[in-house]
Amino acid sequence: MDLIHPHTKADVAEALREASEAGRRVLPVGGRRHMDRGNPTEVDAELWTTMLDRVTAYDPAEMLAVVEGGMRIGDLAAMLSEHNQEWPVDAPSDATVGGVIAAGVSSPRRLKVGLMRDTVAELELATGDGRLVRSGARTVKNVTGYDVHRLATGSLGTLGVIVQVALKTRPLPAATATLVTSSGGIAMAEALLAEVPLPAAVVAEPDRVTLRLEGWPDEIDEQSAAAYAVAELTSVPSFEVAWPDTQNVVEATVPPSRLRDLVGTAHAWTALAGVGLAWLGAADEAELARIRETASALGGIAPVVRGSGGLGDTSLPAPEVQRRLKAAFDPAGIMAPGRFWGGI
């Protein structure tokens, strides 16, 4: 396995151009935090983005941070928190910005902070054939041209390397609270969701439910009071969402009201109520197949995010459009071949 460790985005483009010409297959790698996502892929080289870790611009008043794709989440969070802001993704601190975007991971607090994909204002992609392609703008709002960056988001490195992004930041909440129940289940989570106005997250597990509140201090009091009317709760110091402690974890998503049916058959799970996302432990291939069958029947998908098993054989919408896009950005087919949905 060769290693490409470029210093600049121009170097990335150059390396990819050469790789395309040579037919050398490349896997972009950031903090190695999302390596299990996607189907197994065979490559000739890893391209490490971690030296692309510069801050291009950060203007707290504009709530926009322009950073390179290899910047570590922890470094970004430290810079933003000095100005009481955050990029709300809740990824591990050694993950990279580009890795989080390529993996398409949103915050468990998304009821409050929204989806990661909507925070990417501008993105520059080094395409598989070595062009630097920028889309979007460094403004809060923008509808100029096609949102090529939407395609790179969640693309698992199969179109190119995310070399630079402008991220929308948000103010850190003035107050937070994390409350935990002594009994679990989806029903308990849904009861809290129904009674507590505008929570940031309601995380259900078999034996407990974690309620995350963020806002102004008086707001938290109001929300907490509503929560205490539903269940007995204990305050805990920090908010952490733990995946099931199993070798293989599936991230299944279904319409929110179908969570109950989704987790019903699993032995270990963590679910985001009101969102329709659950991390399920899959002990073996049979259990993985069962989870996928259930998710599919409920109108969702079930890719593996830890361990083996890949994305599954969900059929792709508009497969020809997807293949043409792949061919346009990576004509030589060198970017993480086969890692994406539909074997793209």
Binding site: A61, R134, A137, V143, L151, A174, V254, G300, W341
Partner: protein, 489 residues
């Protein structure tokens, strides 16, 4: 050259005579949207079902005809103006709410449904559809999806894209595909994300699955007036700097305030240099806390009076002033040209000064009402196009305006889109490879280039070859001269 008569006959046979218009008056009516650009249609189709959209698309494909999708036609950039004798597919008759599932926080709607009708229907259930373009009484959800529409409340809630879970799209060959999902993630590249905002160039949106947002328990609407525009703009930045993201933060200058006040009598202060309409929402306690911060920021910037809407009636009246701004300016002159560009918030004051200077120099009346929190300006030139030379001055001023905003680090459009009006400005923001990649996105959906041709991308932007025509250098003429053949202003 396609045989237009045989296209009309095939459409009439397939969809019925009621769904096909080809008389001169109808063709004239659908020859433009709300922009200044007029084109020409060969036939107008008004489908009532998804299958009829598919039939129309197959017939157009079979005859090699260009297709222009259209909702209510309120677009301001010419994206729904047909050119090259296109088949216009109007989705206005498909205006049903198909289902509302609050337990899944979603609703399925047809594309012709008016934006406001959706929120009105959801309100009794305690939910809303957040994007609220000023045209919401008559603009359709399908049109909103195609322009990635914004609106005053997008400051806190995000634009249309953040509220569209899935779209059913009829591709140029007639195939129906569902992009996105009722579930929070979907397989494949985010094609939903590129269709939203694609201005009808990738296919016809035939159904939309929207995300529902809970109606916040408390709302407070405040009207702040200032003796200096600079103080008003500084207040906007200070509010954000204090960690407050209001649901809406709208600024209006004296010209627009006077026009609006004469129109709706909302009690807007006509002697103020600028007013700020601030809406806060959330939990009652949170609204209270935010209001303290807003007042603090305003007082630090020499606010005149702070008027707080006492009840829903007064709140509606204050908003009526804002949302009827474009009706109100009809009192100033018979025609208007409404702009839309985005700049960094911190540069609002200087850009605004630039707007006045440009208008002065071209002897034009300009008023300003805009989404200040987003840095999204809407300078509005009022004029009478029947006075010789006026339109040319408007276009010249518009050109300078766009360039000023882009040079300030802004973007060509915050919410109206590119369409025909701004396609030749695209090279101001994007290089050849950027535009080439955008052309690839388009070609992936529409390899024959029949969907709403000549919109969004400048002539010469091509997938693969990256042959881009020289960017319009002399501006002045650009807006008028660069229009495709067969269109006129």
């Amino acid at each position: 050259m396609p045989d237009i008569d045989s296209v009309r006959r095939a459409l009439t046979d397939a969809l019925g005579a009621d769904a096909v218009l080809a008389d001169p008056l109808s063709l004239r009516l659908y020859a433009r949207d709300a922009s200044l650009v007029e084109g020409n249609a060969s036939v107008v189709v008004l489908p009532t079902t998804v299958e009829q959209i598919q039939d129309a698309m197959r017939i157009a494909a079979g005859h090699g005809m260009p297709v222009v999708p259209r909702g209510s036609g309120t677009g301001l950039a010419g994206a729904a103006t047909p050119i090259d004798d296109a088949v216009v597919i109007v989705t206005s008759k498909m205006d049903r709410i198909i289902e509302v599932r609050t337990e899944d926080r979603l609703a399925w709607v047809e594309p012709g449904l008016f934006n406001l009708d959706l929120s009105t229907a959801l309100a009794p259930l305690g939910w809303t559809y957040a994007p609220d373009p000023s045209s919401q009484q008559v603009s359709s959800i399908g049109g909103n999806v195609n322009t990635n529409a914004g609106g005053p409340h997008c400051l806190a809630y995000g634009v249309t894209s953040a509220h569209v879970l899935a779209v059913d799209v009829v591709l140029p060959d007639g195939e129906l595909v569902r992009l996105g999902s009722e579930a929070p993630e979907a397989a494949g590249y985010d094609l939903r994300g590129v269709v939203v905002g694609s201005e009808g160039t990738l296919g016809v949106v035939s159904r939309v699955c929207v995300r529902l947002t809970p109606i916040p328990p408390a709302v407070r609407t405040m009207l702040l007036d200032f003796a200096a525009v600079e103080d008003c703009a500084a207040t906007v930045s200070d509010i954000i700097a204090r960690g407050v993201i209001p649901a809406a933060l709208e600024m209006m200058d004296q010209g627009i305030v006077r026009a609006v006040e004469a129109f709706v009598h909302a009690g807007y202060p006509t002697d103020a240099a600028a007013v700020l309409l601030v809406e806060l929402d959330g939990l009652a306690a949170g609204v209270e806390a935010q209001a303290r911060e807003v007042e603090g920021a305003a007082r630090a910037n020499r606010v005149g009076t702070i008027r707080v809407a006492a009840d829903a009636g007064e709140r509606a009246l204050l908003w009526k002033g804002r949302k009827s701004a474009f009706g109100a300016i009809a009192r100033i002159a018979p025609h208007y040209h409404l702009h839309d560009c985005v700049v960094p918030r911190a540069r609002l004051v200087e850009i605004l000064a630039g707007v006045y200077e440009i208008a002065d120099r071209h002897d034009l009346i300009v008023t300003n009402v805009f989404h200040a929190g987003d840095g999204n300006l809407h300078p509005l030139f009022s004029f009478d196009r029947n006075v010789p030379g006026t339109l040319e001055r408007v276009l010249r001023a518009s050109d300078e305006l766009v360039r000023m905003c882009v040079e300030a680090g802004g973007a060509l459009s915050g919410e109206h889109g590119i369409g025909l009006e701004k396609r030749d400005f695209m090279p101001l923001m994007f290089g050849e490879d950027d535009l080439g990649a955008q052309a690839c996105v388009r070609a992936a959906f529409d390899p024959d280039g029949r969907m709403n041709p000549k919109k969004v991308l400048p002539d010469g932007a091509r997938c693969g070859e990256f042959a881009l025509a020289a960017a319009g250098t002399d501006a002045a003429a650009a807006a008028a001269d660069a229009l495709p053949e067969g269109t006129w202003i």
